[in-house]
Symmetry: C2
Amino acid sequence: MNRRTATESKESILEAAIKVFSEKGYSQTTIREVAKRAGISVGGVYIYFKNKEEIYFTLLKYLLDEFRDRAGESIKDIEDPAEAVKNYIAINLNYAKKFKGLILIEGREHGFTSCIDIKKKFFKGQRKLLESIIKNGIDSGKFERCNIKGTAKVIIGTLRGFILSLVMDSDSLFSPEECSVLILNGILKRGKK
Amino acid sequence: MNRRTATESKESILEAAIKVFSEKGYSQTTIREVAKRAGISVGGVYIYFKNKEEIYFTLLKYLLDEFRDRAGESIKDIEDPAEAVKNYIAINLNYAKKFKGLILIEGREHGFTSCIDIKKKFFKGQRKLLESIIKNGIDSGKFERCNIKGTAKVIIGTLRGFILSLVMDSDSLFSPEECSVLILNGILKRGKK
DNA sequence: AAATAGAATGAACGCAAGTTCATGTGAACA
DNA sequence: TGTTCACATGAACTTGCGTTCATTCTATTT
């Protein structure tokens, strides 16, 4: 065979792409730089991907799928719902730290409908996961009775904020524990209403 | 004088720019479109602004200043710290709704140091504001004793998430009330630890 | 009416980036 | 050794956009 197989080349392009996209965002990322870092020529990139958008889409899909699997896996055996929430938060923050740059891109930058679709699906799935934890919490009497769907949305919103903060200004860091404490306990003094 | 004064022209450029930036993001915004919407020629834009970046910077600074003033104003006479937090959250969400598009740009897209500086200053100011509310809450016995700085950071992070959620997927809306409830009370059942 | 100056124009320039394609390379097999 | 096929190249093409500037317009002044 040749120096590299098609699969190897494709993978090195994706590996390079994830780095460049993370560092520069979507618009500022050039095929030339991705190619350079992947150790392939500009034209070579177009053997494996139809265009820039397809590279990005492939990457996004891969990461979302991987995250969903890991998150689901690491929660499924936890009994205590509060513990499950803590764990879920921790996983999110870890992943966010690892893929800082890409998360920022997701704010906007490109409005590919293809990407929007898989993102919506992803978030919906995550919401369902959370809802099941909350339901568990209420049924077992550990969580305040509440609107499950609404609460799940709020928690996801909260998480998103932690992630964004983590990702935007690395100086104002706070730990997963601090996040969990706020989500679980709130800031009002217990016993007062 | 002429058809329009310099001030009028400058303002109509800014008004057009805020719309286009909101709709398209920074990179996708073209001077040509801003000019068109402002009812001025391409060259005309460059009479009033050095370049694209300066337009964006001017806009950002204006909005941050305005927000800071409004937020400060609307909180300063509120006694009850929980009420002040609620109010602060509501103002944030309202403003976010109004300037959806621009907020998304702020995730990344451009790394102008000039913009980063005024943003940092802004967020620092907001954090101080929150810290004073929290301190007030603890002193008056209504808030759980806590690390004030840390808590302020966490609340800002939380808010950021609510805002992002509000801005990204308009279908998964939740009300300022729901947000306040979570931040103030948490999701754990009161009385249990 | 002529002169002046502030405001405005838009064709043209330069450059950067996505994409294409005619051509090259080298391993495997005949 | 020659042929084939998969992989690879990078110059060239195209497009789009930020920016400039020689020129025009119009209202005020002289």
